[in-house]
Amino acid sequence: MLELVGVSKRYGEVVALDDLHLTVRPGQMYGFVGTNGAGKTTAMRIVLGVLDADAGDVRWQGRPLDAGIRREFGYMPEERGLYPKMRLLEQLVFLARLRGTDAATATASASSLLERFGLAGRAGDRVEELSLGNQQRVQLAAALVHDPRVLVLDEPFSGLDPVGVDAMATVLRERVDGGAALVFSSHQLDLVERLCDAVGIIRAGTLVADGTVAELRGGSGSRRYRLSVDGPEGWADRLVAAVDGAAVLDHGPAGAPALIELPRDADDQVLLAAALRIGPVRQFAAAEPTLVEMFREVVSEHAEPEEEVAA
């Protein structure tokens, strides 16, 4: 597994990473989310050895990383990362060979990846001649061409249409199921929620939440319910007044369900009984918080003035 242990990095006066701990297991797709400038890109660059940490360790299978181990990593930087004027096949072969793959294997692997992404007919074209979506596909192919065991992808899905996202997600899932460890950053939280086995939320250089989406939900201090009652206007306020610790998160439009929050240890049947006393209950359902909601909650919990770091 890939571990970041107490990694710190400063750019002059600006703290980019502050004692960051993070673990990604083989066969796991790890989503790395955080506000702009939270330190995602810095962390990824340190994993790839492109930057040196000021303190802390990055380990793979318990050993500190060196050039020999990093050779088996695949990396996709945030924006582009290819020679614009170099032809697709040559470029992929070159990048594979830089990581020690022999020429024949590199050529075979590059050709099959281009085939896979529907770019076989354009193997002799220059990267700059492709559409942005296709450039993104080549970018991913460049990260995969040497058959890496660890994939580090910075914003791999940005700029792709939904079909492109699905195609890329399928390819990545195959690699992960084949035993690769994958960590990628994204601002598309619904996508992270849908794809990832584990999620880390980073804020100001520190991991503030880490685990599966379910674990993150379990860690939340409250539960939420969507409730619809045929009652007089203001029924929701009457309801929470009758139940200890309950609060209205969202009244909703007239006739629509309201969103009610209960403390973790409260009995939800008490809430239902109280609602029935007000009027007929039309809807009563546990509302799982989305990753977006958890993200907002976690980030605002640790609220400090926003720092903008050149990530």
Binding site: R45, V50, R70, G81, L82, Y83, F94, L95, L98, G100
Partner: protein, 399 residues
Amino acid sequence: MSRALSFREAVALVARREFMQRARDRSFFVSTAITIAIIIVVVVFPRALSFGADEYQVAFPGPDGGALQAAAEAQAELADVDLTVVDVADTGEAEARVREGSLDAYVEGDSVVVERDLASSLRVVLENSHSAVSGTRALEEAGIDADQVASALETARLDLVTLDPEADERTTRGAIAFIGALVLYGQLLGYGFWVALGVVEEKSSRVVEVLLSAIPARALLAGKVLGIGALGLSQLLLISVVALGAAALTGSIALDASMLQPIGLVLGWFVLGYVAYACMSAAAAARVSRQEELQNATTPLTMLAMVSFFASFYVFFNPSGTGPTIVSMIPPVSALAMPIRMARGDAAPWEVGLALVLMFALIAGLVVVAGRVYEGAVLRMGAKVPLAEAWRSGRRTRA
């Protein structure tokens, strides 16, 4: 299937890519073609112009015409003047032809008739032949046998004894080296700019991040400098072969092994100059993130190349003296200036040795400094990275 690359293998892969990608670039063909065209014009054109300059049409219509003609042809041969004798019926025709310009001059009696003026080389030929003919005639009239006079005159020729038989050749070699320096100034700027452009291209496309996640920064830098250098040297060899071939075909110089010496010197010193210049270019370029800023970042280097350029003029036109001697030993100016002095045979062995030592010292220093600045700056996007900051962060980055 795969194994870790050694530093040397990584350098070789990068160098090979640089060479192959650029060699197939259309702009490379265009720049090669333009340089070759310039060389051909420089080498062939003066020679083409000079045809006509030393070529004269002359008539000898007078009664002594035959003897004068023979003497003039012999003199023209000695003076290396191209003389064509034109047959005319009489003085009237000769005068008419001089007026219309199809004849440069005609000689009759004791006069040479021209339209406006007489070229000095033709004047010498005609005066000598006239005095020889009239001298012979005077001796004949005095009763001396014509054959005796002819043989006496024949033996009165001067034998040529050259004290410095190679002087001419050395001057030619110096000139070749000078022309070489002029070409190299352009190429030094050109190849240095390729290195700079390559560095910024990798930086602005962020491909440098992918590359540096696989190989050390210094391997990337070394591969780039070597690959572009190898391509540049191939281009220069091609240009040299074409230039020497053109010069030999037009007869500007007699092509022999000794003329290859200045070419060899120039190319050898060029390699040293290129390495120094390329290191500086790479370090300067690594500090900026966009091509638009490149011009600004490399201005000091352009100035340095221009100083070298003018220094080579200074050295060429001042063969002796302390000034040129010192200038030709200072690196990196020595890369252009020293081969001129060496080709001419003006440089003492210790001067060459010292120039080489200084040059290698500069290169060694630059490899360390430029390598570190490059490492420290190449991943920093955005504003131009201050030199001191690049130097400081260079140490921390993975070697």
